[in-house]
Symmetry: C2
């Protein structure tokens, strides 16, 4: 299941509105097929793994991070049916699919065909891996990660706005990898206009993983309305060709954090600045916090967050749980999840 | 030597202007004497350990964290002479004493008496343990630790000043233990007047370790001048009797960070607030930073630091080196040392 989870990560940020599932098929102790949801959402992980395994699927065990789907679509048959047809003997599932078209039905269809099934294996890890899909199912909006890069005293820039560089190259590379795991990146209009951030993925081999660029602006600069899709909305999770580093036409403009429900993205990374971060926190729309900290003091600089509407300290406690932390050169990254 | 270092910690914050040394005497594989510099600076660690060992000092090995002193004083004989007279066979020293009255002379006197000597054993740990003494020798001022207790976004209070409680009980107990290791605690006048902090050690059994209270105030409220000593300055490292929680007469008032050179203390803890912390950083007078961080976000609160005079980010890097970090309940403490 660990291998299946790792495979599922390959699709993260590129499969919305489908979940980024991973799948491994084992026959007689050997891996005979591996699959992960492809960009755009199809083929599904199980279909890809079954295709790779071919005849070796017969009598094999399939490990998949999400319950195989039970619904056909114009884009392909149901994975539960594919597994039955391939003669799979046993299916191990990390997490049941909350999509009402599948929820329990996928497992039931397998069991009805005589396939041994098992579920809730590393379910928490699977839920974390496909957080975008689950958040969309539950809350009808993307899963939101807020990124902050601060000094030890919580500043994101000098008083004059200078923020290059607070963190070192290892932390910055990690932040770019994190971008590649999201369908969309959002910044506030102030940051957009002040810093002209490219918001792309500048890692060798991952340039094509650059997410959609989204700009939060209450004043709505585009005449057509709150949300403007890029010219090639089909290329989900990729900046449309020729748009890298550009401005304007290929960006999505939003007038409020609540409008993120309309984004064609299931994993949204909010990158700044302090007022935009605060607006998402105030609206209780942050699911995950990724905090890069450099061992420097700035003093009197730009604080990481504007007003988040906190009125007493007791209310601040118990809202964030440390999930992961590691050293990146002289910096430290910490990942917190909403409790 | 590890045991000697631990014994030396017992005196930390109570031995100024003497170093807080630790000493262990071993004979035939057994500990026969232990000592540490007593409050006020005498007896010295070696004298205490020799007294405990008695006749078992003959032929024994003495481990001590600082070179035995070579100078007599009205308060006692030189430890090097005591070791010779006791018939010690071997002396292992962590660190040579930078005090010119001893520097090298202590070891030479032992060697001249036929005692085997060895030095530079865990020297870095010893230097850290007696940082106050070494800083006084080198810079003619106390060793300064700056304490900050912040949220993840670097706030030390809500916008309205509320700061109870950012950190949890484990972190607060650790902070009180840290107080007990200092001769003096300093806060700014604003913090003093706003919070009426007791600045004492509220840990069972350590109440008597409460340090001197020092208040930084440019406007110098006391008519007699920059520095007013408490009524019982002999009780170094202890709040004078009856003064706990009181205000005024028993506090020391300083007009600037530079005036700390006059304090009868070798370990000074600067506890706040943001302007006072910034004043010490601006004056380049912080040797050690102890940072308590709670997993909360405040947003728009009181930043940890005022202006420290930083004009570009490059100048901020490389100044602090992480020495220690640990989890305290849901909080984290990090200790940085000036590079």
């Amino acid at each position: 299941m660990g291998a299946a989870l790792a495979l599922g990560e390959r699709g993260r940020g590129r499969t919305a509105p489908n979940p980024n599932v991973g799948c491994v098929i084992i026959n007689d102790g050997r891996v005979v097929g591996r699959g992960w949801t492809q960009p755009g959402g199809r083929p599904h992980a199980e279909a890809m793994a079954l295709a790779a395994a071919g005849a070796k699927s017969r009598g094999a065990t399939c490990y998949t991070t999400l319950e195989p789907c039970a619904h056909e679509s114009p884009r392909g048959p149901a994975c539960a049916d594919l597994l039955v047809a391939a003669g799979i003997a046993r299916v191990v599932v990390a997490l049941r699919d909350p999509d009402p078209r599948t929820d329990g039905t996928g497992l039931a269809r397998l069991a009805a065909a005589g396939i041994a099934t098992q579920t809730d294996i590393r379910a928490a890890d699977a839920a974390r891996a496909i957080a975008g899909f689950l958040t969309r199912q539950r809350h009808r909006r993307p899963h939101v990660t807020l990124k902050l890069a601060t000094s030890l005293d919580g500043c994101i820039a000098l008083a004059d706005g200078t923020s290059r560089w607070i963190t070192g190259p290892d932390a910055r590379a990690h932040a770019h990898l994190e971008r590649s795991r999201h369908d969309a990146i959002l910044v506030g209009r102030g940051t957009w206009e002040a810093d002209s951030p490219a918001l792309d993925v500048r890692l060798p081999g991952l340039e094509e993983r650059s997410p959609l660029r989204v700009i939060l602006s209450a004043s709505r600069p585009h005449p057509s309305g709150a949300l403007r899709l890029p010219r090639s909305p089909g290329g989900r999770g990729q900046v449309p060709a020729g748009a890298a580093g550009g401005k304007g036409e290929d960006n999505i403009w939003l007038t409020s954090p609540a409008a993120i429900s309309t984004l064609p993205a299931d994993h949204l990374l909010v990158e700044g600045g302090a007022q935009t971060a605060a607006a998402f926190l105030r609206a209780n729309l942050v699911d995950r916090l990724i905090l890069y900290r450099a061992p420097i003091l700035i003093g009197g600089g730009t604080p990481a967050l504007g007003d988040i509407g906190l009125t007493d300290l007791a209310a601040a406690h118990g809202r964030w749980r440390l999930h992961d932390a590691r050293q990146l050169g002289s910096d430290r990254v910490e990942v917190y999840e909403a409790a």
